[in-house]
Amino acid sequence: MTTAMFPWERVPTLERTLVTPEGVPLTIRLATAGTRTSAFILDLVFMGVILILMTIILTILGFAAGSEFVLRMLFILWLLGAFILRIFYFTLFELRTRAATPGKRKNNIRVAARNGGRLTADAIVARNLFREIEVFLPLAFLSTALSEGTLSTATGFAGLGWTSIMLFFPLFNRDRLRVGDFLAGTWVIEQPQQELGFALSARDAGDQYDFTEEELAIYGERELMTLEYVLRRSEPDEEATVAAAIRTKMGREPAHDDRAFLNAYYAALRTRLESGMRFGRRRASKDSDEVRPDHGPLMR
């Protein structure tokens, strides 16, 4: 492993461990800056669509109504709607059980409390009120300044500086915290929908394959996982390549029933490695030696 000399050479790990009250560690993956940007842009698009739809519907209603009183009420409704949309769009969605806006949902991410506890409503309100200075203030500032042509060089640079600090704030801390996350005690984590695959060892392997101790000793856990990955993808070309490689290593003749061969080898290798595991013998990969349990003095 190489150690990074300079900060920019360090690859940040986005995995954190959460120990549940039951004492089981769970791995939590923080959302990358890219995912969050994509979620945010999606949300901006949704907000735009909602605003346009609201405007169209209220305009149609206004034409239908005709009376001036109704028109004024509709205008108020529009003002209020636009205000709620801007200030509370994120908050209202994140207050629901999934703790994610539609954009976050599409990107399989959600908000969670940094300490692993309850994600309280005030935390969600806090993290989203800061959006006002992170995004909307620079946007409003730039759009008025540009349209009125009052943007002097100095204020332009000041605005640019401010926007950049806000924009790149998540990249300057390990946990990818926005200013709002920082002040609300929250973070954004990945939450994909993982499905349970087949039980691979239950697959039809045929009885024609037996493996010797030597043949099973070629590989370790990492290769087993790779084989699992290949079998789950089940692409014939890939399987043929892998089967050929394994056969060559064993010194077996090439054959055609790659799928059955791989299934059988997978099941046998897994049985072997897992039974070793139960006795504390682990082998990480083909390049490493088997680790045996270090029995205490009593056992020696």
Binding site: A99, R118, A126, F182, Q194, G197, L200, R270, T271, R278
Partner: protein, 338 residues
């Protein structure tokens, strides 16, 4: 026995048997989680809700076992994902919005405002000093007025205006009262955004918040000085008081909330800096939800009340009543139990 037949592919690896015995429970847990995540938790019956923690714990223990005995990456990833989602539902659960709002008005808002009393005093002092300075400077020398007040915002209400013109702005109102509600609503949305700004800028060590407060205060002082110079001091007081006690209180609270955030970052006390920033940030956010409510009230008072009530006593009376109401509401005693 470790000969040729020793590792024949058995129909089911031991860890897959372990899995097939529990699969049904995991599937049940997954279904419940998916229902809750799609925000239709009300579709679940009581039995399913009661099962959730039990199924979660059994999945968690299955995960621990699988990590020690199974070399099935997909199985472990699945269980980990399942447990994490169930964990967030069980331990990250919030009270529903309605309950939260009830608690907010009953005590949450008061507790938050009381929590930032020190900053509130500081910002109130700052605001008064700023207003006084604006008033004194602008009444001494007209050029100060233009330094404090934006010409667009003053809209002709500057030192060169005649007494009659100024009086008209205080009492003229709109001869017909159409469009008051639109006026009130735009005041509300505008003022709310300004106060959110004053609050959120506090993040930058509080300095921008102080600047926003000071510029508002000096502007107000300069504005009042114009009217006082023409003998309209009582009138302008009423004109401002009717909604100002609510609106200025709201602005002071939002500046204080901003400072409170900054204090959490700069002076963490016994907590870590992150914890202290988060605690203060959340408390300040509660105050801000309240400030938005105050701005709605102020918008209504300014949009409707001021246009419909042209009597000075009436205006002062409402302003004083609102101030007493807010002070009583915020600084009353609240129990510590939810």
């Amino acid at each position: 026995m470790r000969g040729l037949a020793g590792y024949t592919a058995t129909p089911l690896a031991r860890s897959d048997r372990f899995r097939s015995e529990r699969e049904a429970d995991w599937w049940r847990l997954q279904t419940i989680i998916e229902t809750v995540e799609s925000n239709s938790a009300s579709d679940l019956d009581d039995e399913e809700l009661l099962r959730l923690p039990i199924l979660y714990r059994s999945a968690l223990s299955a995960l621990s076992v699988a990590r020690e005995t199974a070399l099935d990456a997909n199985l472990i990833a699945y269980l980990e994902n399942l447990c994490q989602r169930a964990y967030l539902i069980l331990y990250g659960a919030r009270s529903p919005l309605g309950t939260w709002l009830k608690d907010f008005f009953r005590r949450g808002w008061t507790v938050a405002v009381r929590g930032i009393w020190l900053e509130t005093m500081m910002v109130a002092g700052l605001f008064l000093a700023g207003a006084l300075a604006g008033y004194l400077l602008a009444s001494g020398d007209d050029s100060w007025f233009y330094a404090f007040m934006d010409a667009g915002m003053a809209a002709g209400r500057d030192p060169t205006a005649t007494t009659e013109a100024l009086r008209a702005t205080l009492y003229g109102g709109d001869s017909d009262d159409s469009g008051l509600e639109i006026f009130a609503m735009s005041l509300f949305t505008h003022n709310s955004r300004v106060s959110i700004l004053a609050f959120a800028l506090g993040f930058a060590l509080g300095l921008p918040s102080i600047l926003v407060i000071l510029s508002n205060a000096t502007g107000l002082g300069a504005f009042v000085s114009v009217f006082v110079a023409k003998g309209l001091g009582v009138g302008v007081g009423g004109w401002l008081a009717i909604h100002g006690t609510t609106e200025i209180f709201g602005i002071i609270l939002s500046g204080a909330a901003g400072l409170h955030c900054a204090r959490g970052v700069v002076f963490p006390g016994d907590l870590t800096r992150l914890e202290s920033a988060a605690r203060n940030g959340r408390r300040a956010a509660m105050v801000m939800v309240g400030v938005i409510v105050m701005m709605l009230v102020a918008g209504l008072l300014e949009g409707f009340g001021r246009q419909l009530i042209e009597n000075d006593y009436g205006r002062y009376g409402i302003g004083a009543a609102m101030l007493l109401f807010w002070l009583g509401y915020f600084y009353r005693r609240v129990g510590n139990t939810a």
